[in-house]
Symmetry: C2
Subunit: 158 residues, 2 copies
Amino acid sequence: MKVTTQLEYGLCCIVALARLQVGDPASASDIAQSEKLPRQYVEKLLCRLKRSGIVRSVRGAKGGYLLARHPSELTVRDICDALDGGAYKLICEEESMRTKRCIPVSADGRCSLRFVWTELGSVINSYLGTVTVDALLSDGSCHTGKETPYQRPCTAGV
Amino acid sequence: MKVTTQLEYGLCCIVALARLQVGDPASASDIAQSEKLPRQYVEKLLCRLKRSGIVRSVRGAKGGYLLARHPSELTVRDICDALDGGAYKLICEEESMRTKRCIPVSADGRCSLRFVWTELGSVINSYLGTVTVDALLSDGSCHTGKETPYQRPCTAGV
DNA sequence: CCATACCCGACTATTTTTGTCAAGTTTTGC
DNA sequence: GCAAAACTTGACAAAAATAGTCGGGTATGG
Ligand code: FES
Ligand code: FES
């Protein structure tokens, strides 16, 4: 399990945009250059980010991209959702897998592993939802250096 | 980001082994058949699980595999570590990426995104470490149906 | 009207993952 | 001892996912 470069690059672009929080828009080439990324790939990513309403664009000469929201109201999760269609996808979301495994594995029609994977998904999304782009700007300040353990919210009873 | 089938299959095998918690070992073919998985792939996975000390093997006729530890002392995380070399890998762990991105991105030699990805890693590993194979056996009993939010352990001050 | 820059789908290339093969080694039962 | 069962292993092939490119379009400011 690994973050895709799409995500890394996309997030880089967003951070770059957020840093330039001036009035006039930054062009895709500018961003690509400053982040040392392939220009056409950046365009593609920004295009998708636009469709999800994360960035706005201004066409024509002197045009470019702008953040659509304030960095403090934009989480890493939002960007994941826009780019990958979610940071985390269930393995059996694809039709082929679902019929091959999820259903037939256990008698009552449920893969006994399913809850682990769905819980994992919500843990991931939930964490990424706590990280704002704002926090990324102040480099390192958000990093506590401590472990960030997961606390099971409901161990006892049930 | 998605769980690999390696993991899904591997975990299935482990659960199958745990269910058969009798004295004599189960052969790879048995497991493959009961879980409807390709035999040779199962063999390969079990082999790796063996090297990490998750399962034991008995060679020769009537041989097969056994869990090396009690299901209550075996977490999903252990299995991830054995199979994928960890459930989660940092994108810039590979040499090529590291020199291309992680280092040069910010002035002090640190990608400003790095802490998100490392924290994400610890959140994932930490969660998977709370789920024992034991819990998987009692199908559904561990599933609370509720959300399992991530609570940032240290928001204030710092 | 032209240079800039967004828009977009189709396409290729690369890498990763998945799965197979074939040739071993070890042990049991007869 | 020998044959059959079953683990061991690395190399290889197939498939899928990801990364990245191309080329043509459209809008806009000067
Ligand atoms: S196949 Fe759906 S969770 Fe296992
Ligand atoms: S490249 Fe290492 S975290 Fe961004």
